[in-house]
């Protein structure tokens, strides 16, 4: 469903992503791991259209490379950015409503209910300003907001960062539910052990390039991965 070909991202002279090709099949859960500064976030930002890039980003065969982020969203890409990036001065509910910005009014109530069922915590806090939520709650809100767009493909960047182990487990449980219902996921994750347990396929990125890829189960047993990312 998602196909990246020769994607390259530069910041001035510095090359952050050096021509990467990557593939997410319909309904697949794909993990992307790698050390800090490897270029993972840059790659995802290129996929959603937030940074200028070379190469091709294709969704179901359509080349999205020249489209702005809001057009890519309309084609079914949801994005949970690194570091939450919620709308701080808006309430929880308003944040979610922004997520539903492109949906018909009649669908918004259902979408809200769906998110509140997944995250009852957000329902309790629906009138609270997003900036007053805890880090974990903001992370849920960022995920909920992305789900409000009704994505077919969800790009997730370090959603478990800074969460207590019990919350990490919860977030992965939610993602697993969504995946069971057919959502395709491409997930950057520091917690390699956890993500490799859930994903079907995994890529390892380092210094702007892909260094390994294969079925998640195999990578989880690969001594190089264990040594570098699961220590």
């Amino acid at each position: 469903m998602l196909e990246l070909q020769g994607v390259e991202v530069r910041y001035g002279q510095a090359i952050a992503v050096a021509g990467i090709g990557l593939h997410v099949s319909p309904g697949a859960w794909v993990a992307l791991i790698g050390p800090n500064g490897a270029g993972k976030t840059s790659l995802l930002r290129a996929a959603v259209g937030l940074v200028h890039h070379r190469g091709q980003v294709r969704l179901d065969g359509e080349d999205l490379s020249s489209l702005p982020p809001w057009e890519r969203q309309r084609r079914g890409i949801g994005y949970v950015p690194e570091g939450r990036q919620v709308f701080p001065q808006m309430t929880v509910e308003e944040n979610l409503r922004v997520g539903a910005y492109t949906r018909r009014l009649a669908e918004v109530a259902d979408a809200l209910d769906m998110v509140f069922v997944l995250f009852p915590r957000l329902k309790e806090r629906r009138t609270q300003a997003a900036s007053t939520l805890s880090g974990g709650e903001q992370q849920m809100l960022a995920l909920g907001r992305a789900l409000m767009t009704r994505p077919r493909l969800l790009l997730v960047d370090e959603i478990s960062w800074g969460l207590m182990p019990i919350l990490v487990e919860q977030v992965f449980a939610r993602l697993a539910e969504l995946h069971r219902d057919g959502l395709a996921i491409l997930q950057i994750e520091q917690n390699a052990r956890e993500v490799l347990r859930h994903a079907d396929h995994a890529y390892v990125m380092s210094a702007g390039e892909l260094v390994l890829d294969g079925p998640a189960r195999e990578l989880a047993a690969d001594p190089r991965v264990i040594e570098s990312y699961m220590g």
Partner: protein, 287 residues
């Protein structure tokens, strides 16, 4: 007592006009991160447009209100699309220089087109209302009412509509707004058009209670900048409160001293705020 009432009304009228002007500056800064020095020229545009309607077409100046709004919004769309959209994302100083250049261009065009004469007219609301000894002109009252209506409508749009939700999202986190499906380019254009339309409508009101010159809007916007900074850059409600406060202070100062002092007071205030805001004028306050 009647003096206090008189000063209060004067303060509310100038504060109201300042508020509508500041609203636009705050909206443009909040959504586009652009300090629009040319905002005042939209006010002048509305003032001259109204003067033309009244003196040439013999229409009521109140007709100027919607006409100026539409004209300002249309010119705003063109300026945003042709000039500003090409420099968004450039360093702040670059964009600042561009809007400054637009302002100078506007000033020059008005001076060329209309000369430096003071333009005014006597048509429209007239007569006075005597409230407890204070003389309140119907014109001033009309202006005040229109300012309240325009500010109120704008706040409603921003707080209660889908468009407003999108604009607020854009102001708070541009990237997230874009990935949530908000067309950032269109939203910026709409915000600029709305702000420019409001400015021109304010210009119509300015022409009603004063004289119109090529720099009438320019002067008003200098105070509006103070107000926007006072209210916290980009905060709409802050700008409105700041405008009323400054309007009232200036009304008292210009009575107690004279007119030229009221501008100086505004900038003394600005200096104090800068001292009190170590994060800088463009730093966004936490709330």
């Amino acid at each position: 007592m009647s003096l206090a009432l008189q000063l209060l009304v004067n303060g509310l009228v100038s504060g109201g006009l300042l508020g509508v002007a500041a609203l636009g500056v705050a909206l443009i800064f909040g959504v586009m991160r652009v300090v629009n020095f040319a905002h005042g020229e939209f006010i002048t545009l509305g003032a001259y447009a109204t003067w033309l309607l009244v003196s040439q077409l013999h229409l009521s100046p109140l007709v100027g209100l919607p006409v100026a709004f539409v004209l300002g919004a249309l010119v705003g769309v063109v300026v945003q699309a042709v000039v500003l959209a090409r420099v968004t994302g450039r360093p702040e100083l670059d964009v600042l220089m561009v809007t400054y250049a637009l302002s100078v261009l506007g000033l020059g065009l008005f001076a060329q087109g209309f000369g430096g004469d003071f333009r005014s007219y006597s048509q429209g609301p007239h007569g006075n209302l005597d409230v407890a000894g204070a003389i309140i002109g119907w014109r001033s009252l009309t202006v005040l009412l229109a300012c309240v209506a325009m500010s109120g409508a704008t706040v409603l749009v921003i707080q209660r509509t889908r468009l407003g939700l999108g604009l607020r999202a854009l102001a708070q986190n541009r990237d997230s707004a874009a990935t949530c499906g908000i067309n950032v380019v269109a939203a910026e254009r709409i915000a600029f058009a709305l702000a420019s339309g409001l400015a021109a409508a304010a210009g119509c009101l300015v022409s009603m209670i004063g004289t119109t010159t090529p720099n009438v809007g320019h002067d008003l916007v200098l105070d509006a900048f103070v107000v926007v900074i006072l209210g916290g850059m980009g905060s709409i409600s802050g700008a409105l409160v700041g405008a009323l406060a400054l309007g009232l202070v200036q009304s008292v100062v210009s009575y107690a001293l004279d007119d030229s002092w009221s501008r100086m007071v505004a900038y003394l205030l600005l200096y104090c705020i800068i001292l009190l805001r170590p994060q800088g004028l463009f730093g966004r306050a936490a709330a």
